[in-house]
């Protein structure tokens, strides 16, 4: 049977007793499929990461490891390098030295291809309706059962009623919710979220936390740069110290 870690993640595999020639169809759900394998445990490891931006060293010898089933919240003062770290891990920024490994994923794909990246922009087109925006991402990210997933994602982020409304008329918070709904239209084991709660109200922040919890419960890995605690079930905080003296607010300055 499944062993459970403290974090509640399934590890280990169900032993496979009977195998028909050609194997069991992989899509069959567990009760009908004696060979159903839990997805392998994913792990993102960065070692001695050094990243420069604009001639300054932002990350200097940073190491971190995150295991599927947990949400790693990156905290730190403005300018500490949270966005830089996320974009480096996603493979958008080159590192000066150090290694980034993603274990347990698809070896044929890059980290970016197995990740959702939600940055400061929402990837929302003003001239498409809410539904068309999500349907495009579902098709573009090559999801199966796109229509169904889009429906679920819209419902989860409370955008049902705005379905056929052009995205141009959405409020900033609603656009953010639409941007976040993309996380649910295609399954990717890794989520990189940069300030995901930007312009969200309390209720929407809770919906986001529920989505993150559901993702980690399924063995997914979430890295989020955020200043809010979010109230997640399986979260760990990783504090980035400011690399630049000029950006660090000392206690004495904070009192002024």
């Amino acid at each position: 049977m499944h062993r459970k870690t403290e974090a509640g993640v399934n590890i280990g595999r169900r032993p496979c007793a009977v195998v028909p020639p050609g194997g069991w169809p992989r899509r069959l759900p567990p009760p009908f499929n004696p060979c159903f394998h839990e997805p392998a445990i994913v792990k993102l490891v960065a070692e001695n990461l050094v990243v420069d931006r604009g001639g300054r060293t932002i990350l200097d010898g940073l190491s971190l490891a995150a295991i599927g089933g947990e949400a790693l919240l990156l905290t730190g003062p403005n300018g500490a390098g949270k966005t830089t770290l996320l974009r480096t891990l996603a493979g958008f920024l080159p590192q000066v030295s150090g290694t980034i490994r993603f274990e347990g994923g698809d070896a044929d794909k890059t980290i970016a291809e197995q990740a959702h990246v939600v940055g400061h922009g929402n990837g929302v087109k003003a001239n498409l309706t809410v539904h068309e925006n999500l349907l495009f991402w579902a098709a573009f990210l090559e999801t199966e059962a796109a229509a169904e997933r889009v429906r679920t994602a819209l419902t989860h982020f409370g955008l049902d009623a705005l379905d056929h409304y052009p995205a141009a008329y959405l409020s900033a918070g609603q656009k953010r919710r639409l941007g976040l709904a993309r996380l649910l239209v295609a399954h990717r084991p890794l989520w990189f979220l940069d300030e995901p709660t930007m312009s969200l109200d309390t209720a929407s922040t809770t919906r986001l936390a529920v989505a993150i919890d559901a993702h980690t419960a399924g063995g997914g890995l979430v890295l989020a740069a955020t200043h809010l605690p979010l109230g997640l079930a399986r979260a760990r905080t990783f504090d980035l110290p400011s690399a630049l003296p000029g950006f660090r607010t000392t206690a004495a300055e904070a009192r002024l």
Partner: protein
């Protein structure tokens, strides 16, 4: 490849809904060509002699106006980040966007050219050749333009920079586009120039997306 056609479809839909960009390009094309006879005087022989050149240059300038749009909005709203996480390579993303640009700008401009030829007293017999050269030559305009658009995506108000980067690349297309039209009146026919024009477009289609994707990877940083 589904993702490729999905992206082409989305870009065409956006271009149709926004409308403004194509309208601006067509309007600019019309205005530039319409101003030529006013500036050059009513010398019909002169106008019909220089008409192919004016039409081609005006077409290139009009297409240039809409090039910035290829990647700019996607960069601004964060769509480019998501493109970079797709299993569709960035090269094909660039190709899809350049193809959509050709379908929504290159073809309408080429179809408008004969109409504007009337303003320049262009010989009616050269209309089919003119349209053929423009339809065959404009893919190079879109696919080479994508390189410039990708390079200037981060530059605020990079329109002029885009023109400086891209217009020199259009020189071969312009030369052979015109030479096809002038050759069509001569005894040797359009053959070789037309083939070279096609070759320029095919090379642009093959190499443009590679260069544009390389530029986009730098912009992602």
């Amino acid at each position: 490849m589904n993702a490729f056609w999905t992206l082409v479809g989305r870009d065409i839909r956006l271009a149709v809904r926004e409308g403004g960009a194509l309208g601006t390009a067509l309007g600019f094309f019309l205005i530039v060509v319409a101003m030529m006879p006013l500036g050059l005087g009513p010398d019909l022989n002169l106008l019909s002699r220089i008409a192919p050149g004016i039409l081609w240059i005006a077409l290139l300038l009009a297409a240039l106006l809409s090039l910035g749009r290829i990647f700019e909005t996607d960069y601004e709203d964060g769509t480019l980040d998501v493109f970079a996480t797709a299993s569709l390579p960035l090269e094909l993303v660039a190709a899809a966007k350049a193809l959509a640009h050709w379908l929504t700008t290159g073809i309408p401009l080429a179809l408008l050219a004969p109409v504007l030829g009337v303003l320049l007293n262009l010989d009616v017999k050269t209309y089919p050749v003119l349209m053929a050269t423009m339809l065959v030559g404009t893919p190079a305009v879109s696919f080479l333009g994508a390189i410039g658009a990708a390079l200037t995506v981060k530059a605020r108000r990079g329109g002029l920079l885009l023109a400086l980067i891209v217009l020199p690349l259009y020189v071969p297309t312009l030369i052979f586009g015109i030479s096809v039209i002038s050759a069509s009146a001569g005894p040797s026919g359009v053959g070789s120039s037309f083939l070279i024009l096609m070759a320029i477009s095919l090379i642009s289609i093959a190499l443009g997306p590679l260069a544009a994707a390389a530029a986009l990877r730098i912009q992602l940083q």
